[in-house]
């Protein structure tokens, strides 16, 4: 009934509505053109380039079919089978990084959000303070971290004081701690953003659930695990997706820390940094594009899997 009535009304004002829509689209035309030029077109073009042998300098692209992808498959600098962390291979470095940083970011973000949400004194200050690192340029933070974490840096000076002997471990200069140092750095800088997502979700939880829990005699700890945590499920999904995508795209910190080399011993060579090096230093656009397509497929698949795992579940109050 209602449907029929509405579509009738639509017909009568159809012309006006169309005009309205056209005006609307005229407004979004410029952003759409920019989106098309800088996202859509390069993306489609990357797929095209990945099937070609192109050094960037020659005008013509030589079609090679799936050759680039076969090379990626056999590239022992990109990945090896069986998977091995700390093997200096770009893909496993990236997964290793994601495996460490994602839970850390989520835990840190959630903890901080709960603290800020708890109504303690000066919460406004804490909210800004925790979000501050996310506002600062990651390049600037990394550049400063290089000084703090170098062999004679502040951190080692502090450790030396505590252990009582000279401690000069180069955190970014040793393959066993370089990527882990970036993990620590990024968990800290991005926790503010994660906090914001969690905070929004926390505030949307209705208070009557908490009241019911209180009446049932649940303590703080129990309320958190039995009420708050499950109700944050959509937030968990969203934060996990954002965090994983961000982790798989790691580039800037790795590039700055190793001055672009992915060293020491390939420990900070992430998939995107490898893509960059192949394209720029080795003048191999086709191969770089192929790596980009592979990465796209990996991230896309992972997101789909997450969607299937988390997405269907409704929140049951």
């Amino acid at each position: 009934m209602a449907v029929a009535a509405r579509s009738k009304r639509l017909e009568s004002v159809g012309g006006e509505r169309l005009r309205e829509a056209l005006v609307g689209y005229a407004f979004v035309l410029i952003p759409m053109a920019i989106f098309g030029m800088f996202f859509l077109y390069p993306m489609v073009y990357a797929f095209y380039v990945s099937a070609h042998d192109w050094g960037g300098l020659e005008g013509k692209l030589g079609y090679v079919g799936l050759d680039n992808f076969r090379d990626v498959w056999n590239d022992e600098q990109f990945w090896i089978w069986p998977p091995e962390f700390h093997s200096g291979t770009a893909l496993w470095n990236t997964f290793y990084y994601a495996l460490l940083v994602v839970p850390l970011q989520m835990a840190l973000g959630l903890t901080v959000a709960v603290v800020v949400n708890s109504g303690i004194r000066g919460r406004g200050f804490f909210r800004s303070a925790f979000y501050f690192p996310a506002l600062t340029s990651s390049a600037a933070i990394t550049a400063i971290a290089i000084y703090l974490l170098n062999a004679n840096g502040l951190l080692n000076a502090g450790i030396s004081k505590i252990v009582g002997r000279d401690f000069t471990h180069p955190w970014f200069g040793d393959s066993s701690t370089a990527l882990e140092s970036i993990v620590a750095l990024n968990a800290w800088t991005t926790s503010g953003t994660m906090m914001l997502f969690y905070l929004a979700a926390l505030q949307s939880i209705p208070t009557d659930v908490y009241e019911a829990a209180a009446i049932d005699g649940a303590g703080i700890w129990r309320t958190f695990w039995k009420v708050t945590f499950p109700l944050l499920k959509p937030a968990h999904f969203f934060v996990a997706v954002v965090s994983i995508i961000g982790a798989l795209k790691l580039f800037d910190q790795a590039w700055i820390v190793s001055s672009g080399s992915g060293g020491p011993a390939g420990s900070t060579m992430t998939a995107v940094l490898y893509l960059y090096r192949v394209t720029i230093s080795e003048f191999n656009y086709g191969y770089g594009a192929a790596i980009g397509v592979v990465l796209f497929l990996i991230i896309f698949t992972l997101t789909l899997i997450q969607r299937l795992l988390f997405g269907k579940a409704e929140i049951g109050y």
Binding site: L10, P170, D174, S175, G262, P264, M269, I280
Partner: protein, 427 residues
């Protein structure tokens, strides 16, 4: 109610699709127009008009002495060529990335730096110069042949070396005096002895006797000193996996193992020159670039550049950079004028006069105190391989670091580098 909103989203989706298609079409049009406009660029400029030539190089902002020398040289050219203006573009950050973008856009600078290592990769974008050389009767004889040859491919010259440097043994003389070292070490054995002495006398309290980089652009010099090589002279075969190379790398890493040397990372510095400046090492192996660096930040440190070490033979690397002309430059005549001046005797004298660089021409006077670097010319081989070798150098660097950390043996490392080298040569 609900049905209406579905219908609404459906029509919205339709319009969205139209929008996307429209944007893509618009974009294609813009691209086509841009490429159509390209051909108009080649229109000849009128003779009376002033021409502007672009000159690009990596930024020298970190080294004021070098930057001033280049600006002086450019000003001198403009005075002599009133109808040519030079637009100097200092490229900060990743030079290769920036240049590649300009090449790909077919809008390269007219004249630009090309590192000898990058010649094989840059080749498709470089203008061959033999015709210009003949037409303008530009003599290439004064250039040191090994340096010029770094930019010669199958008989064609693609650039003129703007300057060069070999490696020298750079020493903090105060520390040598403190350790009672009167004569600088000349051989590997003497070097080891000197390092031991420096350590015994605690002459470098805040660092290590030597700072060595985990860098093939250093180790390869030692490989040559041990009569080894990476490639054969024709650059067709891999010679990296040999007993003498194994011995060389083992010796180089041995200086770290015995605690006589440390890497820049271990010393908490960016590179070994900084370690020398900050008094964290008595010996480093660097080239002429150390001079400008020490002038800028560490005037109080007393140091000297001694000849590179030798073992079975003398061996050294030559690092050189050329000025080249872009193949797609629309102002080649003016670009040639600039190139010929910068690489000619007058321009090079201005550029190298202050001692921040070593002349690549024999008819330009060498700055005082650099004989150790210049005399190495006959035993220096250019830091240059074949096209696509960046990948191998990358891998070799990674494997070297892994070997340094004790994750594999020197023999295993050389095997891997050998395999990668062969693969690159086959391509």
């Amino acid at each position: 109610m609900e049905g209406g909103s579905v219908e609404r989203t459906r029509s919205l989706r339709w319009l969205y699709l139209i929008g996307v298609i429209g944007a893509v079409t618009l974009l294609a049009g813009v691209t086509a127009a841009a490429s159509a406009g390209k051909s108009e660029d080649a229109a000849p400029t009128t003779k009376a008009a002033r021409t502007t030539v672009t000159l690009a190089g990596w930024s020298l902002a970190g080294n004021r002495a070098e930057q001033n020398a280049l600006l002086r040289t450019i000003a001198q050219f403009e005075r002599r060529n009133p109808n040519i203006d030079v637009d100097y573009q200092a490229i900060a950050g990743d030079y290769d990335a920036a240049m590649l973008a300009r090449f790909a856009a077919r809008r390269p600078p007219d004249v630009f730096y090309v590192d000898s290592l990058d010649v094989p990769d840059y080749l498709p974008a470089l203008e061959p110069l033999n015709d210009d050389i003949r037409r303008n009767k530009f003599s290439t004889k004064p250039f040191f042949p090994r340096l010029l040859n770094a930019f010669r491919v199958r008989g064609q010259i693609y650039g003129f070396p703007k300057d060069w440097s070999s490696l020298g043994l750079v020493a903090n003389t105060q520390m040598l005096n403190a350790a009672g070292i009167r004569t600088p070490p000349k051989t590997w054995a003497q070097f080891t002895a000197a390092l031991q002495r420096l350590r015994a006398r605690n002459a470098v309290p805040n660092g290590a006797p030597a700072c060595l980089s985990l860098d093939w652009a250093r180790i390869l010099a030692f490989i040559y000193q041990n009569k080894g090589a990476w490639l054969n002279p024709a650059r067709t075969r891999s010679l990296i996996n040999s007993p003498q190379n194994r011995a060389t790398v083992t010796q180089y890493l041995g200086w770290f193992r015995s605690g006589l040397a440390r890497t820049p990372a271990q010393l908490g510095v960016g590179w070994c020159g900084q370690a020398l400046g900050e008094g964290k090492a008595a010996f480093v192996f660097e080239g002429n670039w150390i001079v400008g660096f020490m002038q800028t930040g560490f005037q109080n440190v007393r140091y000297r550049i001694y000849p590179m070490l030798r073992n079975k033979a003398g061996g050294n690397l030559a690092f050189t950079v050329a000025y080249s002309i872009g193949k797609f430059s629309s102002k080649k005549a003016a670009a040639w004028r600039l190139l010929a001046f910068l690489a000619g005797p007058v321009g090079m004298r201005t550029w190298t006069g202050g001692g921040i660089a070593l002349p690549s021409r024999s008819d330009v006077r060498i700055p005082p105190g650099r004989s150790a670097l210049v005399n190495a010319a006959p035993s220096s081989r250019p830091w240059q391989f074949v096209s696509g070798f960046d990948r191998v150098v990358d891998l070799a660097g990674k494997e070297l670091e892994a070997t340094f950390e004790g994750n594999q043996t020197v023999a295993q490392m050389l095997q891997k580098i050998d395999a990668a080298t062969k693969e690159a040569l086959e391509r």
